[in-house]
Every structure is written in structure tokens, then in C-alpha cells.
Symmetry: C2
Subunit: 549 residues, 2 copies
């Protein structure tokens, strides 16, 4: 049997757009002689639809979309993900379902059993777990059809007590199909392939896996849909970070064996290369799906804004990113010079605005209240907020979206000014530790200097008071990032960190900074997620808590 895998960039709630892309792929699959075409989990709605699932009207739209797609399924079978209303009197109102469409109608429906409800996932909020198991017959093939997480347990996943694929094996299927919405992080392509191969090696059946591609605000989907032969050899892997479409013959899977998309990244740089491409896609899709095409950022002369500019220029085009240089009385001349040098490399537009006058004006306004209190954090924040206000004014006037340039190390310890440099519609680097931002800069420069060397090598500084350096108030970034990674990604407590040899005073200071900055992170822009544990929807911390202080 010829099976087409359609890897599509859906748009949440954009039913006409999603249906039209799906119908187009069905047409292509028919042309290519496929008997079956497979789409991703919750394809008609986009993933994750969030609380739109609680609107009856939204579910009705999903079902209309399924009807329209079914009408196009003549001479071919399609598997398409969509929510299904739960017909039972009790339990959650929906199932996360796979619709099997042929002869212009819905032939059968399969439901998801294992509902992820951790990190960025909330599926039990909406869906009832499936408890009935049966194969799907398409032509002469018996198919074990599962949805995403259902394949992630064959008795070795601590989260779950059932193994859906084992239940399906009782019906002696000929092949396995899994439709997924499995978001990217820099470890995910390995975890995903390992998990799929483990299923193949265990059940000795071919496996076809279709994932989403594209960004839905902070969640990035890398695609990488897979066809694997019963022998455990990858017959084909669809592109990363791009839509793709490929047809496989189940009886002749070894004919394929293309270079895998991951191979294009040099082994040493794979993590950074993947993060780079994920961020570029994330920026591009955020703008595209909101109907914007131009970005604006404050270019400080430091590393974070330089890397953000490079990524945004690649995502949107050099001409579509406006850099604003906003020197203050504490900015060094080399910051302006370095920025201008970088802009020359790009030919991107820029503006230079001195914030000195506005800063003085606020000083005068506040003098009767501040009296002769000394210069301090307030005045540092004031500079950041004047810059944030200027960026927003230009954004409002001309229809730009402001890109936030904060990195994950700063976001973690709260070294950023709310309503100042923490502004923006989207945080590009908020899930990238400073040490990885350095690596990203080197990666961006891999084929020639894009970011001037001086921006990469000079000591990081916020330049908010004379001769300020990040290292005045924070440990070196290699020490800081190690502690943060242990605490945030690995969820180690202070005791464990100290027992592992970290300096006790440093650990206590850093963890206290992280916990007491929760109120700031609560108000930050969505952060493009590239790690297994990003700030935002996947990390839900109380604000008024008193723990590890």
C-alpha cells in the first residue's frame, strides 16, 4: 500500500485555511497514487487549541471541517486528527480523536488513551481517555492507529498505567500509524526517534509517524515525520522546520533511505543549529500568523540584541527589521560603533535616538519626590523604561512588533526591567541561556562575520551606570548557567546542588533570585520554547510562595 505523510503548518482556529491545506495534500496524494494519506493530531483545529475546546461552537466548526475534508476523500482514505464529542453521559466532554475518512464520509474514529498533562501539556483538562481498542482496516491492511503520547509507553513510562499499543497488538495489525503534535526542544529529535524505533523493534512492524510543523506562539513544532521499516531502518524522515510531503510504499520501504534532515547540522553544533532554525521559524510564524511582517528591536551593542537581530533578519528579511539605537549618558561609544558595524553587514534600517533628554525630564519631574536620594536601581530601571516606551511608540505608529531580547539567564534571576527591556510581543532568546547565546553567535558567524567579533568578546554589561559589568552582581555565566540548568531543567533543590559540589552561598543566592522573580516572569512576553523546560506555560510557579528562600 502507498501511504502519503502530509506534514503541515496549521493555524489554530483557522478552519478554512487548515481545511484548504489538507484538501490540497489529499489531491496530491491521489495524484501520487496513494491509498492512504495521514495528517497530524488535531489537524483541523491546530494544536494546542487551548480553551477554545470549551466552546461548543468551536467543536461544531471542527466537525464542519471534518465534513468538508471527508467530501474530498473519494478514491483515497485519509486519517485526520480532530476533537470528538464524548457521547457518554459522564466524563470529560471530548475525545482527542483520529478520524478515518473515505468514500466521502467518516468511516471510523479512534481515540487517544494517554493524555499528556505535564510541562506545556493540558490534555486532561479537555479530554476523556480512551478505553476501547481496535485496529483500523484500510484496503488489505490492518492498522494499529494511535495518537502521539499513546506510543510513548510500552511499560517503561512512569506516568501511565496502560499501554495502548499492546492492546492493539492483540488484533495482529500489519503496520503502525501514529499521528502527533509533539513540540520541539533541542533533545526532542533524539527522544522521538528512539521511542519510535523502540516500538518498531518490539513489535516488528513498519511505523508511520506524522507530526506538526510550524510555530503556535511559543510552541515550536519541528516536523521530522518518519517512516520506519519493520527491520528498524528509517525509510524516510520528513524535513525539519518546513512543510513536507512524501509517499512511501509499505511493501518496499527500503527503497527510500534519504539523508536525514538532522544530518545537515554538524554533530558538534547540532543542538545550537536546531535551536537556531527553531527560533527563525518561531519568529517567522509568529509574525505570519498574526498578519505582521515587520519587527523592531533595541540594538544595544550587546550580544543578546545582536543575536536577536540576526535571527529576525533571517526570519523576516533584512529590510523588515528596524533596529533602534538608544544610547544614554552611560552608554559607551563602542556600543554604538559595534551596532553600526553590524548593521552595515546587514543593510538593515536603523534609527539612533538619544534618551538623555527624556531621562533628564523624568529626573526633574521626580525631583520633588526623590529629593536628594542617591542614584540607584530606580534610575537604571528608568533608562530601560524610557527605551521600552520609545520602542512601543514607534511600534504603535508604524505597525511593528517589538522583539524582546532578554536571555534565559537574565529571565531566571530577574535581571531585567519590567515595562522596560522586558517589553515585546515575543521573546526570542528567553529560553536560551547566555552561554548558549554565545554559541548561537558563533554559529551565526560560521560562514563569515555577521555579528562583529567585538560584540561577542567584550564583557557583558547593561550600561545603566558608569563602568557597570554583569559580573559585578552575578557569578560568571558558566557557573550561573550550570546552577540554573540544575534547578530549572533538572528540578534539583538547593540541598542536592550543594551536595553535588556547588558553592552553598552562590546556590542560595541564585535560587532566591529565581524564586523571587516569579512576579516578573508572570508579565513577560511568550518565550519561544527550545529547551525541555522553558519559562511560561510549561513552568507554573506560585508568586507569593516562600520556599528555598
Amino acid at each position: 500500500m502507498r501511504i502519503a505523510l502530509a506534514q503541515i503548518n496549521y493555524h489554530i482556529g483557522n478552519f478554512s485555511g487548515n481545511v484548504s491545506r489538507i484538501l490540497q495534500a489529499i489531491g496530491r496524494a491521489i495524484t501520487d497514487g496513494a491509498e492512504l494519506v495521514v495528517f497530524a493530531e488535531l489537524a483541523v483545529s491546530g494544536y494546542p487549541p487551548g480553551d477554545f475546546l470549551e466552546f461548543d461552537d468551536f467543536i461544531t466548526q471542527c466537525h464542519k471541517a471534518i465534513g468538508q475534508i471527508a467530501a474530498g476523500c473519494v478514491g483515497i482514505t485519509a486519517i485526520v486528527g480532530a476533537p470528538e464529542r464524548n457521547p457518554a453521559e459522564h466524563g470529560k466532554g471530548l475525545f482527542n480523536a483520529a478520524y478515518v475518512l473515505a468514500d466521502g464520509e467518516v468511516k471510523t474514529i479512534r481515540r487517544k488513551t494517554l493524555l499528556p498533562d505535564y510541562d506545556v501539556f493540558d490534555e486532561y483538562r479537555y479530554f476523556e481517555p480512551n478505553t476501547e481498542f481496535d485496529i483500523v482496516q484500510v484496503g488489505d491492511k490492518k492498522i494499529a492507529l494511535t495518537i502521539c503520547e499513546d506510543l510513548w509507553n510500552f511499560g517503561n513510562n512512569a506516568f501511565y498505567t496502560t499501554t495502548p499499543i499492546d492492546e492493539l497488538m492483540r488484533h495482529q495489525p500489519d503496520l503502525m500509524i501514529n499521528i502527533a503534535a509533539s513540540p520541539f526542544n533541542y533533545t526532542q529529535h533524539v527522544a522521538r526517534t528512539d521511542m519510535l524505533l523502540a516500538n518498531v523493534n518490539r513489535y516488528k512492524l513498519p511505523l508511520f509517524y506524522v507530526n506538526h510543523v510550524g510555530a503556535q506562539t511559543e510552541l515550536l513544532f519541528d516536523g521530522g515525520s518518519l517512516a520506519i521499516g519493520a527491520d528498524g531502518k528509517v525509510a524516510g524522515e520528513l524535513k525539519y522546520f518546513e512543510e513536507d510531503f512524501e509517499v512511501f510504499d509499505t511493501d518496499n520501504l527500503s527503497v527510500h533511505s534519504p539523508q536525514r534532515p538532522g544530518d545537515k547540522y554538524p554533530a558538534d553544533d547540532r543542538k545550537i543549529g536546531l535551536i537556531h532554525d527553531a527560533l527563525v521559524m518561531g519568529i517567522r510564524n509568529y509574525f505570519g500568523k498574526l498578519g505582521f511582517d515587520r519587527a523592531l528591536l533595541g540594538l544595544s551593542g550587546g550580544l543578546d540584541s545582536a543575536v536577536t537581530l540576526a535571527l529576525a533578519a533571517q526570519a523576516l528579511g533584512n529590510d523588515n527589521v528596524l533596529s533602534v539605537l538608544m544610547p544614554s549618558p552611560f552608554s559607551s561609544q563602542h556600543s554604538v560603533d559595534d551596532s553600526l558595524e553590524m548593521l552595515q553587514n546587514f543593510g538593515s534600517p536603523h534609527e539612533i535616538i538619544s534618551i538623555g533628554d527624556a531621562y533628564e525630564s523624568f529626573g526633574k519631574i521626580l525631583a520633588p519626590i526623590f529629593k536628594d536620594l542617591p542614584f540607584g536601581l530606580t534610575e537604571e530601571n528608568l533608562q530601560a523604561r524610557i527605551r521600552g516606551t520609545l520602542l512601543m511608540a514607534i511600534s504603535n505608529k508604524f505597525g511593528y512588533i517589538v522583539l524582546n531580547t532578554s536571555n534565559k539567564s537574565e529571565a531566571a534571576v530577574g535581571y531585567g526591567t519590567l515595562y522596560g527591556d522586558m517589553n515585546g510581543g515575543l521573546s526570542v532568546l528567553g529560553d536560551v541561556y547566555k552561554t548558549d547565546v554565545f554559541a548561537l553567535a558563533r554559529y551565526i558567524n560560521r560562514n563569515g562575520e555577521v555579528i562583529p567579533e567585538n560584540i561577542i568578546t567584550k564583557p557583558p554589561s547593561a550600561e545603566l551606570r558608569p563602568d557597570q559589568k554583569d559580573s559585578d552582581s552575578l557569578p560568571d555565566y558558566d557557573i550561573l548557567d550550570k546552577i540554573l540548568y540544575q534547578y530549572i531543567e533538572l528540578q534539583k533543590g538547593s540541598q542536592e546542588l550543594i551536595a553535588a559540589g556547588c558553592d552553598e552561598a552562590t546556590v542560595r543566592r541564585i535560587l532566591k533570585l529565581v524564586n523571587t522573580s516569579e512576579y516578573k516572569r508572570h508579565q513577560t512576553p511568550p518565550i519561544l520554547r527550545v529547551s525541555p523546560k522553558a519559562f511560561g506555560r510549561g513552568r507554573r510557579m506560585p508568586i507569593v510562595a516562600k520556599y528555598l528562600l
Copy 2:
């Protein structure tokens, strides 16, 4: 048997504080001759602990706390909520458990079966559901012990397929105890009492219910713990919005019959009275638990900031709320006069700062970029951002927390300026529709004028351009709020609203405003939750979606 109900304001992760309050209540229960003292769900950690539950160290601290409390349980039995590690190899790592402590040790543990995972609740993220049912023996009584949601289904709750209390009834208990963490909204006291009474009427057993009291950031717990006799008569209801402690004799429940706390609100004003007291507690606890005592707000002369000032003054004391008046060239004199009149009523401190100079300074800085483009939304936002920056500067310098004064109607349609009037550590009125803000103002004035009449009666205006009124760009608030309520609280789609008689163009315009403002609400302060559907953690909407547009 004498049973003590201890209704306590816990602090998330503050183990020493929580343990000390629990031990104090145990001491009092012993003194009062109680055989059993009952505390709330997840009492040792505070509720909701969020992703702290994923830290092994946090669970260890919970168990240390249970050990310390058990050591104090000599001559009395205590029921205390805490997380329990799941000993099984598979399933979520924790149970949401009730520890039964006596003779200085843990006697037995019961686990929660029904895990709420909707609106503000995420319990399936952390907890495995219980599947084993047994009563707890204390003295000569057999107790059907359940945790919160477990009592919210006896076959009539669509969410769940099991009925824990039915299982427990097979063991023929003598009484029911439920420990809860059931957050307030203005419908909750009725829903809660109805649900508890329905259980009593069905099983003909006395029921003792212990809830949290106090605020944990946006979640407000109103207390209202209950003792109900087997005859369905309320023997006692503990205070709303305050810690409380009471002892009941199971064999003589009708001796009690105090006035119920809800009775103090006149029937006509009950909803508004409850919201008022909930907000005052929410402000007080947010500051108290973060270790702050002084608030700052921009007093515009409009209704929202006036009501916020009144609530904050009651929560923190008149002297502890600094009002800043920041007239612009578009502000009317009566706005300043009305504000000053209100401040005179309070004797609260204030500052007057004209923003004209800063506004001009930004105008000059931006002139080379804006050239001769006309005055517009950008300049309106600029005024709001200058004010926001001034408030944050004063907050930074003197250690105030800025209170946000936006109401729910504005937050819904995006009529607010990010990094401007949407600033603040806490949103006081963000879950109160404008029509209810009017009612709150009348309630605050019920015993004499606190908020000047002119502030209540004048047409709402942002005063960001000449002669601006809210009604220039929005429908009247009574029409707007009706549509918003149907869409947000009742989750009706546009079709349903139009079918119900709402004007089609208005519905489409309002729903589009709500959906396209999601990016703004993503960056707002936590909002004190007083309704069944507040913006924030209980309403999770995608940002880049395209639906109902």
C-alpha cells in the same frame, strides 16, 4: 465525639509558618477537649503549590512537616492534607492525600479520587487518582474521609465516572469529613453549601467540611467551613475571609446554629458585598505574604482608580496607600478636583505630578521619526506609559507595590496600554466588569460618601485626547458587559449570541476585540479572581489563533 475545625490562612511553601499555625490549633483543640481536629487539603504546603510539587526536595519538606505535626498529636487525632509519594512503579508520582495523625505518628493515609483539571485547577498534572476506598476509625466513630472534589460527584457531575462517597458508604460510616481547597467566586458559597447539603440529604450522616481561607496571589479562599447535622441543618459555618476555629459535638450538633457569615450581607448586595470583602483580603494577603505593606496607584479621577484606592485603603490602612495624580494636557480640572476631594475623605497621602514635560520631551525625541504624522493612538499610549513609568520609579525608590486599576470590561476588549495603565504587581478589579465596579462604588458608599458622587456619575473617559469618552469607541457598558459575560463566563459563541438577540455587528466587533487582545492579557499582572471565569490561569487561550474574527 468533639471535632474541631481549623480554618487557617496558609502560605505556599512556608513550612515553618504552616506547621506552627497547625500545631497552635492542635494545642487549642486539646484544650477544648476535642478528640479530632481537622485541617484543610494540602495544608502543610499551602494550595496551590504548582510545580514546586515536581521538586523532590519540596515533597521531602512536606513530609518533614507532617512528622513535626504528628509529634504534636498526642491525646488527639489530626487530619491534615499533604502530598504523598506514590509507591507504585507507574502512574503520576504523587497522591493528593489526607494524613491521619495520632499518638505521635502517621496512623493512616487517604487519597483523593476526583482530581479537578479545569478552570484554575491542574491537579492531574501532579497527582494519580485514588482507586482504593476505606473508612477511617477515630475513637468509636467510622469516618468517610474525602478530599474536596471527591464530594462533588454523586452521579450528577458530568466530569467524572466514579463516585468516591458511594464506595465509602459500603463501610457504613458514622459521619463524613471533607477537607478542601475550594477557591472563592461570587457563586461559590451557594454552590458549596448546596453540594454539601445534597450529600447530607442523600446519606443522612453529619458532615464536617474544612476549607482554606486567605489569598494565594490571584486565588482567593473564603473559608466558610461547615458542620451540618444528619438532619440537614447547618450546625455552624465558620467565618468568611478570616481565620476561624470551632469545636462541634457530633452527638449534639443542633446546640449550635449561629448566624451564618453570609447573613451579614444584605440579600440585594450579597454578590457585591462578597466581592468587596474578597478583594480586600486579596490585597492584604498579597502584600502580607510578599512582605510589603505599602501600595501605590495612579488616581485619575475616574471610577476604577477611586474604587481601587478605597479597597486598598481598607486592606492596608489609609496611610499605606500613596495616590499619584498625573494630569496631562488632556486631563480635566474636575478629575484633579474629584481626586483631591476623595483623598480628603481618606486622609491618605498623595503626590501631584504633571506629565506635560515628559510628554513633550518624548514628542521632541520622536519627531525626526514621526515627522508630521497626526496625533493618534500612539500619543494616547505614550501618556499612559509615561504615567506607568513614573509609578514604577516611585515604587522602585521607596518599596511600594503598584496596584493595577483596570477593570474586566477593559481587560476583555484590550482597552488598556501595555506597559502603561496595565502595569502593576496585582490587578484588583481585573475580574470585575465595569457595571459591577459601579455597584462596588455604591456599596463602598453604603454608610456615607467615601467616593465622591461626581466620580460615580460622570461619563467614563480615559482623558487621553480632547473630550474623549469611553462611549465614543465602545457600546454602553450594560450592553458590553452582557456580551462579555455570555462569551467569557458562559462560553457562548457568536452564533449563539446573535441567535439570543444580540446585535450581530456589535457581537462580532466585541468578540474580535476580545480574541485579538489575548497578547495583552498574556502580560498583565495576576488578577484577583472573584468570578467563575477570570482572565489568567483559569482561561488559557492561544495568542496566534484565528477564530471568531
